[in-house]
């Protein structure tokens, strides 16, 4: 998956219920352009940066996220493959249960709608 697709997918993960108008307001990118980018049009560097900035701002709202990142780097260096697998399983379970508790599970990418 290209860097652009990854970024858009991450963005939709952090803001799953956001309308195109809201995405436009958050990133400063025009609404029609947002629609095109969500549908795979190639991105300019400044647009990629705008999405990354929005994601980073959202992540900064949760101080434990940077802690988690730091611990994950240490874990990757120190723990065995088996131990890492257990941690990944644990995290996957927490995420899956959280997804079940959502009002509905919305597939990424496929349902961008103009507000």
């Amino acid at each position: 998956m290209s860097l652009q697709n990854k970024t858009v997918q991450r963005y939709r993960l952090f803001f799953p219920k956001e309308t195109l108008r809201e995405s436009s307001g958050r990133t400063g990118i025009q609404i029609t352009r947002i629609f095109r980018l969500f549908n795979g049009k190639p991105m300019k560097v400044e647009e990629l940066e705008a999405f990354e900035k929005a994601i980073n701002e959202k992540m900064a709202e949760n101080p434990n996220f940077s802690r988690l990142n730091y611990v994950m780097e240490e874990a990757a260096a120190l723990l065995t493959n088996e131990e890492l697998g257990k941690i990944a399983d644990y995290m996957e379970r927490r995420v899956t249960n959280k997804k079940f508790a959502r009002t509905y599970i919305r597939p990424l990418f496929q349902d961008a709608s103009i507000a």
């Binding site: 723990l79 065995t80 088996e82 131990e83 257990k86 399983d89 644990y90 996957e92 379970r93 899956t96 249960n97 997804k99 079940f100 508790a101 959502r102 009002t103 509905y104 599970i105």
Partner: protein, 159 residues
């Protein structure tokens, strides 16, 4: 994710060998409406459940590979941990004891015999009430023991 989430297991256990409607599954499992619906859909997509008419049924033709994934040791362990964690984090009516107990070999034997009595009591209680108590109102009970030294070694090595 490998295996089943404890939420998915509750749905499967609610259905059991029967064919249940959505309302019946929800009444048995006690899950919120949207959660119940999302899980049923996820299980159908994974091929574990079948939906015929308005009834949900467990697929009889689950592949051995999928069976191993659902009921494998690692998956069951992860599922038990999920439930135990929930018991620990319970805010109301919490019953949980955790102690390092000094026991001589005689007392250890007595304790194990008591556990065996407890197990048969639970088995009888379950047999007596399983038809009248829905899954959502059943109690989760667990116990275990281990020697501190060997447990610490396991913690250290991560195995």
């Amino acid at each position: 994710m490998r295996g089943l989430s404890s939420l998915e297991r509750v749905i499967l256990e609610s259905i059991g060998m029967e064919s249940l409607t959505y309302d019946e599954v929800q009444a048995q499992s006690g899950l919120q409406e949207n959660v119940c619906f999302n899980i049923l859909q996820a299980l159908i997509i994974r091929g574990i459940l079948k939906c015929s008419g308005n009834k949900y049924k467990i697929n009889e033709n689950i592949s051995p590979l999928m069976m191993e994934e659902i009921n494998g040791l690692e998956a069951r362990k992860a599922e038990s941990l999920e439930i135990m964690e929930a018991v620990l984090e319970q805010n109301t009516d919490k019953i949980f004891r955790f102690q390092k107990v000094a026991m001589d070999s005689r007392d250890e034997k007595i304790f194990k015999a008591m556990l065996s009595n407890l197990e048969s009591f639970l088995k009888d209680a379950h047999k007596k009430a399983q038809s009248s108590v829905p899954l959502k109102n059943r109690q989760v009970v667990f116990w275990g023991m281990g020697e501190v030294q060997s447990l610490m070694n396991q913690v250290m090595t991560g195995r």
